[in-house]
């Protein structure tokens, strides 16, 4: 038999199947297809159960185009040989040569229209070498379960849209990855800014303002009164400040600022105006040391560095640039009133 069925063959088969006259079958088949054409002209679509839907699409240049969408039953029947395959993800180490060919006969019966050829358009170079039949064996071995095939509404046009969709998803993933990278970088920059702040470089200008506002009230007083300062230290600090001290200690342990005796150094609020009542200690500026670090070491408060500047006016020319090796006297701070 030829691999072609004409309208005459169709009518003959119909006549045999339905026990009808050849002439009647001929007439019926002719009417059948003539009516499909009429239906297309009239309604622009004809739906026939078991066969499919014919549609008339008018294109931009006013040209009619007949499109046939096969019925799901027809589509599945035709694709039956491959219906139990579904797309599978290949693992990195999949070598097509390793796959045994036990089930290849099944494929051999099925492949009628043309011998398989490797579709190398979108494959990697190593895959490109693999011949079609081997690839089919892979699919046989990897997806042995009988499953529904990946559905496709139309033939060629849909292939393209599927590809586009895949590409669209790809770009979406890339976009997400870029976004994530952006967030990570942003967090890094923020961390960098705040870490930089701890060196006092950002806060310095604010501190200078504070320093300029307060100089009148911070008159150096030479007399040392330890009893008063002690009592005030204990009374001035309310509960809130106690908790602050705890936090400061915690932070201190985390950032590892060098302190000699953490327990003895009390947090001094920068909201109180202090007078200088003597020298607490002397410190030599080393590399990496800043006035605010020194202030933090002795007062647990970076913002109190202007007092150090005030007390060391004779050695500090520029508070923003204290040369390494400068020896500073640390003032003992007592609340002014």
């Amino acid at each position: 038999m030829e691999d072609k069925l004409t309208i005459e063959n169709l009518a003959a088969l119909l006549a045999a199947k339905m026990n009808m006259e050849q002439a009647d079958a001929d007439a019926f088949v002719c009417s059948f297809f003539a009516l499909i054409e009429e239906g297309l002209k009239r309604d622009k679509y004809v739906k026939i159960k078991g066969l499919g839907t014919f549609k008339l699409i008018t294109e931009a240049d006013n040209e009619g185009k007949v499109v046939f969408i096969p019925d799901a039953a027809l589509k599945e029947a035709v694709n039956k040989p491959f219906s139990h395959f579904q797309p599978v993800e290949l693992n990195e180490g999949v070598h097509f040569d390793d796959i045994d060919e036990n089930e290849s006969s099944e494929v051999g019966e099925v492949v009628t229209p043309s011998e398989p050829e490797p579709d190398v358009a979108s494959e990697q170079s190593d895959i490109a070498n693999v011949a079609g039949p081997d690839a089919e064996n892979v699919s046989l071995n990897v997806a042995p379960e009988a499953q529904e095939p990946c559905e496709e509404k139309e033939e060629i046009p849909t292939e393209n849209t599927e590809g586009k969709q895949r590409r669209w998803f790809m770009s979406w993933y890339m976009f997400a990855a870029v976004l994530l990278a952006g967030v990570v970088i942003g967090v890094g920059v923020m961390w960098g800014v705040f870490a930089g702040r701890s060196n006092g470089s950002v806060e310095r200008s604010n501190d200078l303002k504070q320093y300029e506002e307060k100089p009148v009230s911070v008159a150096p007083v030479d007399s040392v009164d330890t009893e008063i300062s002690d009592s005030i230290e204990t009374t001035e600090e309310d509960n809130a400040e106690d908790t602050v001290v705890v936090h400061k200690k915690a932070i201190d342990s985390i950032i590892g600022v060098a302190t000699d005796d953490v327990s003895e150094i009390k947090y001094l609020s920068d909201e109180v105006v202090y007078k200088i009542s003597g020298t607490l200690d002397t410190v030599t500026i080393v590399k990496g040391s800043t006035l605010s670090k020194v202030a933090y070491k002795y007062f647990r408060n970076r913002k109190l560095w202007p007092y150090i500047v005030m007390y060391n006016k004779d050695v500090i020319d520029d508070p923003n640039n204290v040369p390494i090796g400068t020896t500073l006297r640390i003032p003992k701070l007592t609340p002014a009133d």
């Binding site: 691999d3 072609k4 069925l5 004409t6 309208i7 169709l10 088969l13 119909l14 199947k17 339905m18 007439a27 019926f28 088949v29 009417s31 059948f32 297809f33 009516l35 054409e37 239906g39 002209k41 309604d43 004809v46 739906k47 026939i48 078991g50 066969l51 008018t58 040209e63 009619g64 007949v66 046939f68 096969p70 019925d71 027809l74 589509k75 029947a77 035709v78 694709n79 491959f82 395959f85 599978v88 993800e89 290949l90 009628t112 398989p116 490797p118 579709d119 358009a121 979108s122 990697q124 895959i127 690839a135 699919s139 990897v142 997806a143 990946c150 496709e152 033939e155 790809m170 990855a177």
Partner: protein
Amino acid sequence: MNEKEFIDALSAKTGIDDKRISKLMSSVADIVSSNLQEGKDVTIQGFGVFETKKKMEKIEVNASTGKRILFPPKLLVGFRPSSLLKERINSVLNG
């Protein structure tokens, strides 16, 4: 034109009753389907050709993840309208 409208119209045209028409139509569909399954094209002169096309298996590589997906081969039903059908339909469309 849906299934019922089509049967009614065909019945009016051929003088065969609806039930018989329905059976005949499903027979035609069966014959077309079985021939397509055997790999035979169904050629209707002056109307068009029903044919099967084999779409080869292919491996698609997702560029962003590097995943390789193997798509199985597929047999698809296609229909090519004959040039006569196209002409007749366009003559109706354009005037």
